[in-house]
Amino acid sequence: MAKVELRNLQKRYGDTVHAVRDVNLEIADGEFFGLLGPSGSGKTSVLRMLAGLEAVSEGDILFDGASVVARSPQERNIAMVFEQNALYPHMTGRQNIAYPLKVRGTPKDEMKRLVDDVAEMLNIAHLIDRKAAQMSGGQQQRVAIARALVRRPNLLCLDEPIAHLDTLLRARLRGELKRLQRALGMTSVIVTHDPVEAMTMTDRLAVMRDGRLQQVGTPDEIHDRPANAFVAQFFGVHSMNLFPFEGLSGPDGRVARCQGQEALLPEMAQRFASADGRLLLGCRPGALRLRRAGEAAPEGALRLPGKVYVAEQIGDEMLVTLQVGELSATALLPERQAFGIDEPVTLTVDAAALYAFDPGSEATLHFGTGGEPGVPLHAAGL
């Protein structure tokens, strides 16, 4: 196990692609660390540089204080679980798991003992004598994890290890991986584009966008206090709703336009407006409420006219997709309600639940509270 430091890490592919820009991170010994971001954010490049599969363009990587950039994956003693297709298909599960030991010249009886141990740990003892090509995707990934754990590496790199599995299996392996990591106390870095995965598994995580770190912190911190509008929108079970306003006017500056629709702002909002009268507000889908025509809206809330795009019932909850002009928003309502398609509604958000962002830099100016519902069924994989 090792403490890992990344200093001013840069990755360029050719002259045109700057995939990783000035990344600085410290990962504690035994920590389960997440790299989260949309595709093309540079998270996988960071992991591959950590693993030694990709050369570092600039900057340094240190394991326990010693630079490893010049070392091969083997010399770094890292293990890696790939997205898919990384087992040796002509070998059995047992041969796959034993391969890292075999090439190191481990004695046969010790090899067998280690493989049996790790197979037991991952509940694959009954299928490791099958050929890799004859296993299901979930079984293959379990074997791949076993192969990574069979020798105790300094660092375990997980490159979207469960992204290709079906929802149910994903939820189960998520739990298993977390328990294994805790039990072995192995420094681990997981790359994922799934916020739920990052939220549930990691101790700390970094959100990346366009090669840059956006925020580093515990899942709670990032969820409750997102550093900017991108993180707020990306990190959560549902995307945060963002409403850009312009043309702040009216008495006390409480009227503004969003997508050409006239909206009434709560009193707290105008503090966050830019000099040219623009404003960027956000709320979690669970904080968005809908009023039909004729229903009174609460005083002091954000009020915005829109219409229903589609309303879906998920168990006891309603997931309503709305349109404000060209802008799309989601509301998660706690009770069943019928809505017609294109039915006009007023979107309202309690002032306390509103987030405010700088309309220019998108940095967070004000944190709202609440509004994240319980994890919905499809994300929990139940």
Binding site: L53, M80, F82, T92, P100, V103
Partner: protein, 317 residues
């Protein structure tokens, strides 16, 4: 008679169940629909082969006006007792068992080399493909000119270096190695292409996993690349093995089977029997023998490949 399912059913006697009649009608129309294909096959494949088989048991001589007589297995025994048959078989065996394995080895090396090139892989691959794309007659003439003992560029250069080069295709010692070399030159690209396809089929993550697992390049080659390429190697070997029985053009142009009979393989011997000496009966018998050798040889290779695949698993677990 043309029978459609409908009137076949109507024609069925009342005692027969309609289902039986329908099935019979269906069978009849099946054969009717297959008939053109079968006829084509019979005319184009079965008939010539049957005629060859027939000829191999007769005294058929094209240029001699004697009646064709059935001579039993005379042709076969005469051939098998002759020295020329065994020397021709030996030459064919050298192509099949020396040239082909060399093509596999060199082709594998080239495939690995090209696969490791980062840029312009297709360019290099197509460059190596040129020998395979040339017509055999062109290959023969090109090498004939290149290797000509008197005015060929190779020997001029060698003489320039104060060496006394052999007469290549015209030398009793060098004729066979020369022809084998030309065959390797011409057909290694095919092996290379097949194995390159096999290499490309291995996911990049497999190689990365091997690196992470601490596998050295040599270990990766032996434990991962070679077993994953094995099916492709078998395909290339069988294709080239079958083709190696048919080497003719290059021999015809470069050596005419000579000097003496030193480069005469079974194919050339067959040609010589049939078209120089017009002994069609004997040539037919020789063709049949070749076919049998080829079938037995190919079956042995495939059986060995199957055993090899099984053995590999057995050793590992």
């Amino acid at each position: 008679m043309v029978a459609s399912p409908d009137n076949a059913m109507l024609a069925g006697s009342p005692r027969r169940r309609p289902a039986d009649a329908a099935r019979r009608a269906e069978r009849r129309s099946t054969w009717l629909l297959l008939a053109p294909a079968i006829a084509f096959l019979v005319v184009m494949a079965v008939w010539p082969f049957a005629y060859l088989l027939y000829a191999s048991f007769t005294s058929y001589q094209l240029a001699v006006p004697i009646p064709i007589e059935f001579v039993g297995i005379d042709n076969f025994t005469r051939l098998l007792q002759g020295e020329r048959f065994w020397s021709s078989l030996g030459i064919t065996a050298i192509f099949a068992l020396v040239a082909v394995p060399l093509q596999i080895a060199v082709g594998l090396g080239l495939a690995l080399l090209i696969n490791s090139v980062a840029r312009a892989r297709e360019f290099y691959a197509s460059l190596f493909l040129i020998p395979m794309m040339l017509a055999p007659i062109v290959v023969g003439f090109a090498w004939n000119l290149f290797l000509n003992p008197i005015y060929g560029p190779l020997n001029s250069a060698l003489r320039g270096m104060e060496l006394s080069p052999p007469a290549w295709a015209q030398s009793p010692d060098w004729a066979l190695p020369t022809i084998v070399l030309v065959d390797i030159w011409q057909w290694t690209p095919l092996v290379m292409v097949i194995l390159l396809a096999g290499l490309r089929a291995i996911p990049a993550t497999v190689f990365e996993a091997a690196r992470v697992d601490g596998s050295t390049p040599r270990q990766t080659f032996r434990n991962i690349v070679l077993p994953m390429l094995a099916p492709y190697i078998v395909v290339a070997f069988v294709l080239r093995f079958i083709d190696s029985f048919k080497v003719f053009d290059v021999i015809y142009i470069l050596t005419r089977g000579g000097p003496g009979t030193s480069t005469q393989n079974l194919a050339y011997y067959t040609y010589d029997l049939g078209f120089n000496r017009f002994e069609f009966g004997a040539a037919g018998a020789l063709s049949i023998i070749q076919l049998v050798v080829l079938i037995v040889g190919t079956s042995l290779i495939l059986a060995a490949a199957r055993r090899g695949a099984g053995g590999m698993e057995g050793r590992r677990s």
